[in-house]
Symmetry: C2
Subunit: 287 residues, 2 copies
Amino acid sequence: MKFIKDVKILIVGLGLMGGSYADGLTSLGYEVGAVTRKQSTIDFALNKGIISHGMTEPDGDYIGRFDIIVFALYPHVFMDWIRENQRYIKKGALLTDVTGVKGSVVYNVQELLRDDLEFIAAHPMAGKEKNGVRYASRDIFRGANYIVTPTPKNTPGAIESCKELGRLLGFKNIMELSPQEHDEMIGFLSQLTHCIAVSLMVCKDSKHLVEYTGDSFRDFTRIASINDEMWSELFLLNKKELLKQMDLFADRFGKLRGFIENDDTEGMREMMRLSTERRSYFSTDKD
Amino acid sequence: MKFIKDVKILIVGLGLMGGSYADGLTSLGYEVGAVTRKQSTIDFALNKGIISHGMTEPDGDYIGRFDIIVFALYPHVFMDWIRENQRYIKKGALLTDVTGVKGSVVYNVQELLRDDLEFIAAHPMAGKEKNGVRYASRDIFRGANYIVTPTPKNTPGAIESCKELGRLLGFKNIMELSPQEHDEMIGFLSQLTHCIAVSLMVCKDSKHLVEYTGDSFRDFTRIASINDEMWSELFLLNKKELLKQMDLFADRFGKLRGFIENDDTEGMREMMRLSTERRSYFSTDKD
């Protein structure tokens, strides 16, 4: 599968991420179609010029026209969709996705897929604290990471095409991880931090705290504004790994609590020096 | 005590905060002196034009010249300084501070102070993840909060002068809280979040994670870069309140962990909806 100009691309699920893929690919001159639930979404996307056409129901003739299909659906909907509609997909088509967890998705999809189709999973690490096609824009990919998570079932050609898709969309770093490595990394860097922010934000009815709140608390809790439907599903799909990361954090937090309770200044300071050193790897201009 | 132009102001401790006070007050035309440990600090500040003069040792004649003294010292140094040098302070002078905890400081200072002096505590909620006079600038006060924490020992005039000082320095919000209210608020909004960030940052040797790290993890861990000497002291001085806030957070974090472990989607989603609602009070343009 090469990215020649007459390749036709279908986006299934036209939300923030699917819509941003559509925006990026249309702007590059590709013919982009969409299958999504609401007519109003299609109307908006047509009007904005980020798709060429779209349908609200999976239609066999329509689906059969595409060479590449990008799934930007909730994981459980994704599996059902494949089960019900894969019979319509053009022989040799390449399937990819944007799902935020991999181990519990990739193998299952590859398992149930027709032999003449290939699914290569990817995770575009981009987003906003807003949902829906109305906020879609290819700009969200700028400076962001794009991770391809192949399995032994994937061909070198499909892996390369999937990376090329990330490059075309303007991602800064295109990387490759195993599904397990991906899920551990995401469990720590993303899911755990969301768990912490949510837990912190529900501690108090914080209305009266607003006037005392500085930038650091705001930065810290930005991700406590969260799409509950999507994240609860992603948490459960990465449950084993996420619980491991939560326990790791709780252990360190408990250690620090112990230092404070026991007036162990040196224990505290050593931990703070380690955190300062490790944070320095991430330094940016904003620091 | 009015802020007439010929009032002389002494800064004790010329670090980031003391230096920023000096910068702000000098730029307003006040005569600002400094007592600080290192001659190189004084030389730097003189050269930058943010003080008129300074000394490395508390000198009786020098200290006796000032009408207002701002203490920008580590809490334990602050108490010792008062004990040893209050005999030099001009009768009727107004003393204030910038200390980040209040309950364990304010009453003790007021207790040991001469009867003809008044100490009115304040917490300028501004800063940087950098220390030292080299980073000092009155710009750090712009948009920040300034909290005055009077006790029954304080006079209305001193409270008003202390607020006026905050206004002169350019703080956005000038507020009044009791020392206890202040410490609870700071324990939650600032100290707890620093504890969380530090605990998270020491979980893993994260060098290999840098390339996968997006803006949200960076925002989240910015405060894990921390002055271990100062913060360990502040934590212990607010120990009771901080442990209470840590336990509150650990309870909510444990609840969320339980929801995930037990596949309790509705429990998770309810918590996420509450966190989203509460975060919305803090919304800014950056969200």
